[in-house]
Symmetry: C2
Subunit: 413 residues, 2 copies
């Protein structure tokens, strides 16, 4: 946790309702941090279904390997998350640590280790001593309560400057179901640094295969469309739990992600994932501005997303936004370097509603004054129209400031 709140922090936070079938406890295990919670337990009613998506890193952390193995079972009874140590690049000891934790969690919740899910965030390469917190799990499960969502979001923070939470209530087949989500810090890794974790739960009765499809689809335009510094964590983990408790109130059991009764649920889930992903971007290390990059007119939506990420990951574009400079030449550069089909002489570029370049040249009608005023805003929208097709994509990032370099470079661990 940082002493300085991000200027892009939410002005207000939602009150997080309970999710039937989910109980939460947090504790101060002192894994690395002192005087704050660093251990989170969620226990779930029997029958809870699970879906998950993970980092694409070829060097994933031990908990990511562990979760991937258990995901096939489709069922979850326990989630254990620690901050302060990522249990990544810890070899055989790392695997043993996940096994010890899962065994202790299974005993605490009276379930199988195959129903336990784990996540860790913090230092890379330091062995995680499971024994420093496994003795706490029994009491935590006993004391767990349904109303601890904000506390849960706080326990998993690392360099985050604020907890990230979102909630929505919608109907499935005439019955209210609720979705709650929490997330933590973006796009960095290693000593004292962050990784992206998010945990979402609902009381809707949705079977694991359908849940997995909903999550995978929901991630593409949310968590998979944000970037802070192009660096991929070893530990990124997004889990979605469905307790099914709303079935007792009449919600119909859903087994197909395309079920028409899911329309409102799908929209609400997408919104929660987007809200959490944007909160992550807005709390990117050193961030002072949110940048939304939209690419239109690309050869395909896949091509549009690649071009959008090339713009969003360009240090020169990000430093220009930090300097409140509508430097469209750097956007041209980023389109050019993406390696995707593009025709320089058809390209147009906007900052907000200010069109700065049109069909391969500076727009003679553009207003320096209006554009300068626009660049002072907290939220900057960049659009590049490629002019050769109908592919479209939007991604989000933050600016690159001296504070980013200070946070990541000004220390000796």
């Amino acid at each position: 946790m940082s002493a300085t709140l991000s200027p892009l922090a939410p002005k207000k936070y939602p009150k997080m309702p309970a999710i039937e079938g989910v109980r939460i406890a947090t504790a101060e295990a002192g894994i690395k941090y002192k005087g704050r919670t660093d251990l989170l337990v969620m226990s779930f009613d029997a029958g809870t279904q699970i879906a998950g998506v993970f980092t694409r890193s070829r060097c994933p952390s031990a908990p990511v390997d562990f979760c991937r193995r258990n995901l096939g079972g489709g069922k979850a009874r326990m989630l254990v998350v620690n901050s302060g140590n990522a249990n990544a690049f810890t070899g055989r000891k790392g695997r043993e640590s996940t096994e010890l934790t899962a065994d202790a969690a299974a005993r605490a919740a009276d379930c199988s280790p195959g129903d336990v899910f784990l996540a860790s965030t913090g230092v890379i390469g330091e062995p995680l001593e499971a024994s420093s917190f496994t003795h706490l799990l029994g009491d935590m499960v006993r004391q767990a309560r349904p109303d601890q969502w904000t506390e849960a979001a706080q326990a998993i923070m690392t360099t985050d400057t604020y907890p990230k939470i979102a909630t929505a209530t919608v109907k499935i087949g005439g019955t209210d179901v609720t979705i709650n989500g929490i997330a933590k810090g973006a796009g960095m890794i290693a000593p004292d640094m962050a990784t992206m974790l998010s945990f979402v739960a609902t009381d809707a009765p949705i079977a694991a295969p359908a849940l997995q499809e909903l999550l995978a689809r929901g991630t593409a335009k949310t968590f998979n469309a944000v970037t802070v510094d192009s660096d991929t964590s070893t530990s990124d983990t997004l889990l979605l739990f469905a307790t099914g408790a709303a079935a007792r109130r009449g919600a119909p059991a859903i087994t197909d992600a395309k079920d028409a009764r899911l329309a409102a649920f799908r929209r609400a889930l997408a919104k929660i994932l987007k809200t959490l992903a944007l909160q992550v971007v807005r709390d990117g290390e050193g961030a002072r501005k949110q940048i939304e990059v939209t690419v239109t007119g690309a050869k395909s939506s896949r091509s549009a997303k690649r071009i959008a990420l090339a713009i969003a990951n360009s240090p020169l574009v990000k430093t220009a936004v930090a300097g409140e400079d509508a430097n469209w030449g750097r956007v041209v550069m980023a389109v050019g370097k993406a390696g995707e089909p593009a025709d320089r002489d058809l390209l147009s570029i906007w900052f907000g509603n200010n069109r700065l370049a049109h069909q391969g040249e500076r727009d003679p009608a553009y207003s320096e004054e209006a554009t300068s005023a626009y660049m002072k805003r907290d939220e900057i929208a960049i659009r590049a129209e490629v002019g050769i097709g109908r592919g479209k994509a939007t991604v989000w990032t933050c600016d690159l400031t001296k504070e980013y370099v200070a946070i990541n470079g000004d220390y000796r661990s």
Copy 2:
């Protein structure tokens, strides 16, 4: 040009000899900068052969398009380079500007516009008024002298803090031939910013097709193995001229790049390209340390280079080096994100001779003290042994400092 010399600037510069058949002039055209030279002309004897490699950007500058068209002819009589304006993303006006410049240069040198080569560096998107300097070309050609190589390197600087020059003399078939090269600034673009330009000339009699093969091979492990911020300029240009004047002193005419008599020449050319490329990296915006990244044991050399570039372009690795932190966890992260075949549990990582991680775990024998002392050096070598094959590659970059952000973000153009 910057007021502050890079701490990595060369301690001494070579004395640049003449290249028979090359005459050089520089001038203050006032294109953007005042009180310094910003225009370079090189004129070449009839019969001079040329080779070139260019940016891979899909949005190249007008001069890059122009050079690509003329390269097919294989002959060069004139090179005209300006700093202060990149003539990039300037549409029809940009093409007209290159044509006007080439016509004026052809008149000045009494040659065809097809024998003229052009390069521009500086602001993107501003029309380049060729008439602001074309009237100078006639006098420049008349006054051009063979001993102006360092002045040439100065005229093409933008945010460079020192001129980049290199020279070598070797034998082809018992006759001395000389190679001179100059270069300018790295990996940035747009207002007041840089792009990578390099011009190399020799008096060796080498035919254009062989020259092109030599240049393409020489570039792979030099200019194509350096990165400052992963951003690709619209304007990167590397041209190699061979006047053939050494033939008069008995040097044999070479038509095949594989000719055994070229052995020493090939090595010397590779060394000059590497020296210039490293000077560019060492003058990267805000750079305080040079970083050499070597990847061994990858599946192929292509795979090794991709992993090496993922490490070299990682903001987290670069800020860690700036902070003198041997943060090997971030190297693991970068290997993981490269998307290339890798096995976490076979990976080993060195900073200099200090092995920090071995086969997927922190190396228990590593000395924090020795590593900390190592990280204070100007030149940091990072090695990652992937452990699955024999692929090997080395790339070079610089650290990411607050000065980089200041240079690129702390201004309004």
